[in-house]
Symmetry: C2
Amino acid sequence: MTQKKRNAFYAQSGGVTSVINASACGVIETARQHKKFINKVYAGRNGIIGALTEDLIDTSKESKKDIAALKYTPSGAFGSCRYKLKSIEENRAEYERLIEVFKAHDIGYFFYNGGGDSMDTAHKVSQLSETMGYPITCIGIPKTVDNDLPITDNCPGFGSVAKYVAVSIREAGFDVASMAKTSTKVFVMEVMGRHAGWIAAAGGLAAESEGDAPHIILFPEIAFNKEKFLKKVDRCVKKFGYCAIVVSEGAAYKDGTFLADAGTTDAFGHKQLGGVAPVVAQMVKDELGYKYHWAVADYLQRAARHIASETDVEQAYAMGKAAVELAVSGKNAVMPTIVRKNTKTYKWTIGEASLSKVANVEKMMPRNYISRDGMHITQACRDYMQPLIKGESYPPYKNGLPQYVTLKNEAVKKKLKKKFDI
Amino acid sequence: MTQKKRNAFYAQSGGVTSVINASACGVIETARQHKKFINKVYAGRNGIIGALTEDLIDTSKESKKDIAALKYTPSGAFGSCRYKLKSIEENRAEYERLIEVFKAHDIGYFFYNGGGDSMDTAHKVSQLSETMGYPITCIGIPKTVDNDLPITDNCPGFGSVAKYVAVSIREAGFDVASMAKTSTKVFVMEVMGRHAGWIAAAGGLAAESEGDAPHIILFPEIAFNKEKFLKKVDRCVKKFGYCAIVVSEGAAYKDGTFLADAGTTDAFGHKQLGGVAPVVAQMVKDELGYKYHWAVADYLQRAARHIASETDVEQAYAMGKAAVELAVSGKNAVMPTIVRKNTKTYKWTIGEASLSKVANVEKMMPRNYISRDGMHITQACRDYMQPLIKGESYPPYKNGLPQYVTLKNEAVKKKLKKKFDI
């Protein structure tokens, strides 16, 4: 229990989303309301690396207005990183360095905003703080477009990607439908999700009536069957005039080979990681002869704050806020969760989960979310996902462009002499 | 002059846009207000093919509400086509067939919504109607994301693609900036424009201050210089931590070879049309070693009605409306144009151009819109483009998704016995 007034550390971890800054906003705004417990919020520049290298950002130097603008600014305002702390056994020095930096800056709260790995790190830091006798309250804040954290009903970041994907395939579907008579008959859109089909599944929400795009979804969970796939493409084109396909980057053959790795080489014979969409499109062209177009959304999908889900933005903010509230109420080693209420219309409330139960557990998409033929979603999937994309939360615009904030990100004066190489 | 009450024919041609249906809406709503001159508006199913095959859609069967919904529905609601009529000398039969169908259905107005080729077709039909002694009023309605029609200040469809591209690269730029410390340092986004860099240039609007994305734009107009390009990428990464690039699909080497065609083959040795973005990204990786991500927007960019430019939507509607007003006022063989007024803040009005002057003339992007180093835009370009992306014109949403309309598209009863093979 760290109930005397101390500083807090907040860091963003892993792939960013269009709403992770909304969580940051929730943390900072709420911390500012709890001056009795929390003095300043220091953010790690580039995530946990900022803590290791003592490169801290003093968020108290940011105006109220700029902090509020985080709620509608995509990406990680303080910088994120792909940096996984090793186990304590393997690299105890890293954990000791963290505690050292926290001590030097009187940091008594550790808020870590990320996915499964980050929850594991937060958990380890909390364990170490006990054994090292340095009291620090560790709270995880869920974030991942992959939607694969356990216990929480869904993960902030996912709803907005889901909305982007569903909106985009609906729009592209309308486009292809108009062109199909004399031109493009097949459209392939590649989306993220190397291990799980949550994001690809979201595309399915756009198909509300028979014949609507997308007609086919290719999931990482379902071994790709070329013959079955091509048959369905052909059937769609013959029945509806065109075929719109959403394919997960993780779509793979039965033996685990990614479709994207299926042998493409560049002029020098190097293996070309060319994306799965062109591979699928070319397959259709070679076997069925249909003219195609393909798109790879890549970062656009997870950065698209302009079409973020209002539900997602609210939940992301609420998770940041709840993290601080949990901390000041004396909770430790927990992560706030989104709890779906058992009501007819979607309602959610905030729960909490022990970091020990969240760390290193991956939530897979249930098989009953995928249709029997393995190429679309079921009603159960719709019931789960549809509320998550609900509502629009538009950023402000100027000169036709969204006005996202770039913070000052002023550094906190270093106090340690020792440098730390990462 | 066809001032007695007759039917009208309207068709959509070529690649569709997110606002071509707004022009259709302008045509149909305005025609309904001129019952004295125009009886019914028949739309060609799949564009001009619908006229040739006598496959007409009776738009009078559509409700007022559904027609109004066209204003916010992307794509071509009646179907479009890529079908260029040959010259009269080469295929007089096609033109005679058109006149025959128009005669059979008492069509006295021909509204053709498309780009340069379509304006040429409309022009030819008007010439032929004279020589064949069948009076028909021919009005072109400008539409093209390529923005390459002459005389008109800009083309409906372009402003919305421009907005999509600028918004997307801004968002992706924020994303990469957060990841750059430990992960992705270079992001490449491919956009449309095989012959002209108008769309790629629009990405440049997102860069309002030094260091903003995009840092580099590759235009079809500027021969690709690998060395200069890589130098600039490296400089950007060193100075700003990352580099965001917009590349036109038409980017090419000095000898005219498209970058996208630069020798990639698939497992079977077939030439792979893999898009230019992965080629550019791989080049950066091979030569500079930076981790990259890339996106290909493809149809998403021209279908993205959810982020359409309000200016563009208004102009598209106005062009449809003006086309009908020109027709009923006795004008013939003209196309309404957008005229930029010489005012400090952007104002526009409607003008007209003779189809003979529009047909087969391509407006290129002025060299002074491209920066001296050939890799960004100039202030002159900003001054021209910025007003075109101004304003948001959001569609209505239900269950988190835009509610686009699908019309009934009821066929008009055929009157001709002869079929026509296309």
